[in-house]
Symmetry: C2
Subunit: 247 residues, 2 copies
């Protein structure tokens, strides 16, 4: 499936404004404002001024939450998004309800306690973010994430992403039976996304601290329906297949 | 979701021609022709003359297979369909490759060896067929079956059906995680079907013979998205919800 840009000039706009630059602007702004994120159940809440709100929206981290305060906005981040800003980009600190600043190790433990599959889902999330994909929750489509090549304003999302733990199916339990594979691929097709499965292998490193993550490896596989018509006569149609190398 | 009849006169046509009558005609024709079904991997092949072909197509059992013989047609039945005709309606006999007629017990063992989840899927299939639903393979949608209120020529299918074994999740492994539930419900919604889950409880009767089936119980649950708009203002919209009592 080819990238589906929204409108004619979108591809050019995206090239002129790379995602890495947008995220880097958010990074600088967070460091400047000495940002703090409040841990609340499975989310992290961040108070944002106009500039930070603009950059959160642009880089697609979190969702804005409407409050009665006009000047300040609150952003609600998923645990993966917050941990990425805290641990990978080092531009945010998490704070507990008592106001104490959490170390990365404490934040890691907190995330795991709220979401047992966090080490796997975070590895998948950060794997894609490091490659400058825009990664959003896939809840709506029954997957872990959806991935955009650039800003959702310019392009439709291309991948529906499942993060599976290699060798530990009990934890996530997806794609164990054919009917689930069929169902997922069928749904992805109907919303014009490709199913991308990220098999995360912990290489027996455990989950005791976030430093384990660097030893985790990720295997990428896309699953698509085979169209038997595709290779019969028209060889050119093969060229339209997704280029896995770009992931 | 209300039944979606195809065209104006379809509902009246269906009332005048109940499914029970159509299946009963197939039943009589199979008994008259002393029908035999050849066991072949996970299918049963039946040679059918013009009348039987017409009735197979009408009652929606199996799929016709084109052969070079003009007068005779072959019908390919799934194991559940064949076992329903052999065991529940007693109008078909299965034969092995050596030409020997199989008893129901032998056919049961054969079906289980080809498809370990057969006792569960058969109970679900027969449960719906007994209630005069037209039941077809749900492979295309990543579920076990799809169910029509009447002939697919008159009405769209209403239910996407998953047959799950109660208490033995290892065997089927569906709907164990939220993302799978979301994905399945989302797909069902996009093809205008309601997800019907049949939880089959073997009540510790085992699977040693088909007579166990009468002790199996089936619990029916539909899973739909909750639409928070639905109950806010317009109370009439609630009346459009699926009436579970009809299942």
């Amino acid at each position: 499936m080819k990238p589906r840009w929204k409108g004619k000039g979108s591809e050019a706009k995206a090239s002129a404004d790379p995602m890495s630059k947008i995220v880097s602007q958010l990074h600088s702004s967070l460091i400047r404002s000495v940002a703090r994120g409040l841990l609340l159940s499975r989310n992290v809440l961040i108070e944002a001024d106009a500039e930070l709100s603009y950059l959160f929206n642009r880089a697609r981290f979190g969702r804005s939450r409407i409050t009665s305060q006009e000047e300040k906005q609150w952003f609600q981040l998923d645990m993966e998004e917050a941990f990425y800003l805290c641990f990978s980009l080092e531009c945010l600190k998490g704070i507990g309800k008592d106001g104490s600043i959490k170390s990365n190790k404490e934040l890691w433990e907190y995330s795991k306690s709220e979401k047992p599959a966090f080490p796997i889902s975070y590895k998948a999330y950060s794997h894609l973010r490091h490659k400058n994909w825009v990664v959003r929750s896939g809840l709506q489509y029954g997957v872990d994430f959806i991935a955009y090549r650039h800003l959702p304003a310019l392009i439709h999302s291309e991948y529906a992403v499942l993060a599976l733990s290699k060798g530990d199916n009990e934890l996530n339990g997806r794609l164990r039976v054919w009917s689930d594979v069929h169902c997922t691929v069928c749904l992805c097709g109907s919303v014009a996304k490709t199913l991308l499965v990220l098999f995360v292998d912990s290489n027996s490193q455990g989950t005791s601290s976030p430093s384990c993550l660097e030893h985790y490896t990720v295997e990428e596989e896309t699953i698509t329906r085979w169209n038997p018509e595709q290779s019969r006569e028209d060889q050119t149609s093969l060229r339209n297949q997704t280029n896995l190398g770009t992931i």
